[in-house]
């Protein structure tokens, strides 16, 4: 039998019964493995001693009392370093739903892009909220050289940019367009869009149906990029998507009360760089806010998670839509809400509008 691997030797210290008998038999006769086990056991014992923790710390009743007091305080309670206390700028707080949606949309694209770059094959299966501030947005825009206004207006169908660590080019498979029917949108995108059978009170018929073709972006990392990254290529695809906007009833025809979007989940593939190398490189770029990078790392498996940026001042909570994890974002006061989730067929859905969260979730559960 080959020598016992070091992870197995480490597990022998904690969970000896989990180690196969043949490994123990080999160990009994192998001086090299015995020496390895001794060193590993000494390191483990040292760490256990240095990191020893008392059995009980604090009084859980008292701690719950103190916590509940803080949770009952009006306004946002102080957040820890992992969640970054940020106040919503006044101009954002008073912004219309359209503006907020544009900001959310912008950061979603940026966030998805960042996450997509974290793995050689990015195929998210769930969504998770990530708090972002306007400073985060500004920092990311500085990295790309694009302004929030440019991103909000939308990028041209194709183009390229020079970045500090290489260049990025993108191409759109066709033109974004308005179509006359949902059937036409389905035919153009091959997406399974289901219109809700029951609409909340005050929501009128569809006012516009838009189709966004798939966008493919390719990043070529220059030779000045970090070890393992230099010379590699990362390809990210987003879309296609269908966006349906509903008008008011009664009310001005131009007012959007409800929006429903469905898109193919983003995906990424890389040549020459591992997921871990890409994650480390991208999140350590100068200008990437350390708090945001930490939040993205905290999401867990980056290859399987689509981060949903939540601007400061908005509230997010985790929900379920037809069994799939969903992120519900609400405006203070409950005047507007939106929910994003990924269904089991690999489609990312979004429903939002000038509705309360119950109405938004009711619609979501009809279309997901």
């Amino acid at each position: 039998m080959p020598h016992v691997s070091s992870p197995v030797l480490r597990r022998l210290v904690d969970e000896p019964l989990a180690v196969p008998d043949r490994a123990r038999r080999h160990l009994a006769d192998c001086g090299r493995c015995q020496a390895g086990r001794t060193e590993i056991a000494q390191n483990a014992a040292t760490a256990a001693h240095l990191l020893a923790v008392p059995e009980e710390i604090g009084n859980v009743d008292l701690e719950w009392f103190l916590l509940a007091e803080r949770l009952r305080e009006p306004g946002p309670a102080r957040r820890p370093a992992v969640c970054h206390p940020r106040r919503m700028p006044r101009r954002l707080a008073g912004a219309s739903l359209g503006t907020s949606a544009a900001v959310v949309g912008t950061v979603l694209v940026v966030g998805a892009g960042a996450a997509a770059a974290l793995t050689s094959v990015y195929a998210p299966t769930r969504v998770a909220p990530v708090p972002v501030s306007t400073n985060d947005l500004r920092a990311i825009n500085n990295l790309t050289g694009l302004s929030v206004a440019q991103l909000s207006r939308g990028l041209p169908p194709s183009g390229s940019l020079t970045l500090a660590f290489g260049d990025v080019s993108w191409n759109t498979a066709g033109q974004p367009q308005q179509v006359s029917s949902i059937a036409r949108a389905r035919a153009l995108t091959h997406l399974a869009y289901t219109a809700p059978a029951r609409l909340p009170a005050g929501v009128g018929p569809p006012g516009s149906i838009a189709v966004q073709p798939q966008v493919t972006a390719t990043v070529h990392f220059s030779s000045s990029a970090g070890a393992g990254i230099a010379g590699s290529t990362l390809e990210v695809s987003v879309g296609p998507a269908i966006v349906v906007q509903y008008g008011g009833r009664p009310g001005p025809a131009g007012l959007t009360t409800l929006g429903i979007a469905v898109m193919q989940r983003p995906a990424a593939s890389s040549t020459g760089a591992t997921a871990r190398e890409l994650e480390t490189f991208l999140l350590s770029r100068p200008g990437v806010p350390s708090g945001l990078a930490q939040e993205l790392r905290l999401l867990g498996n980056p290859a399987a998670t689509l981060p949903v940026p939540v601007p400061a001042g908005l509230t997010s909570s985790q929900q379920k839509v037809r069994g799939a994890p969903a992120v519900l974002v609400t405006v203070p006061g409950g005047a507007a809400a939106g929910v994003i989730w990924e269904s089991r067929d690999g489609l990312v859905h979004g429903v939002g509008g000038l509705l309360d969260s119950n109405d938004v979730l009711n619609v979501a559960r009809q279309v997901g």
Partner: protein, 180 residues
């Protein structure tokens, strides 16, 4: 249980999800505060970290009992938040050294290790890669391999590798510090 604390909470909390959150808090509190203690080495500071982590969890998870990763999230967040806290402590220590300010006396809970050793461990942890420090804290706070694997989103078989490397790195950091 001290029901006095509970009765003072009132029967109608302003957050609809407060009762559900209390269940989650009571299930997870001991684990979270132990993970934080492994870094900060001080009961009061560990309790402060735990409070912050649960505030963030309350804002993040409407009903953590319904979330499939709330437990993992608070455990990793406890390690990260505590590691962030000692980064600030390193700056404060340096400021105190440079200004000649007296370091406050040791608290009664700092009995497991002497103060200097505890400070060295904190410095070493803060210099380790974040994932290495996290796996050490989770495992040595009492989590099983399976729980560490779930919290860090890795296979259980990989925990041994991560632990071995992290423990070796911790020893080297402490040896390097001793040589300086």
């Amino acid at each position: 249980m001290d029901t006095g604390f509970m009765s003072r909470l009132g029967s109608s909390p302003p957050q609809a999800s407060l009762p559900a959150f209390e269940r989650f808090f009571r299930e997870q509190y001991a684990t979270v505060v132990r993970i934080a203690f492994g870094v900060v080495g001080d009961a009061q500071a560990a309790q402060d970290v735990a409070q912050d982590v649960f505030i963030a969890a309350f804002q993040r998870f409407g009903d953590p009992g319904e979330s499939d990763h709330a437990c993992a999230w608070v455990r990793v967040a406890a390690a990260h938040t505590a590691l962030n806290a000692i980064r600030g402590e390193r700056r404060r220590d340096r400021r105190q050294r440079l200004s000649g300010t007296e370091v406050p006396p040791m608290g009664p809970e700092e009995t497991v290790l002497d103060r200097e050793t505890r400070a060295e461990v904190r410095r070493a942890l803060s210099r380790l890669p974040r994932r290495a420090a996290t796996v050490l804290l989770l495992r040595h706070s009492g989590l099983s391999y399976a729980e560490v694997a779930e919290a860090m989103n890795v296979k259980a078989g990989h925990v041994g590798t991560m632990l071995r490397r992290a423990e070796s790195a911790l020893r080297k950091e402490l040896q390097n510090a001793a040589r300086v």
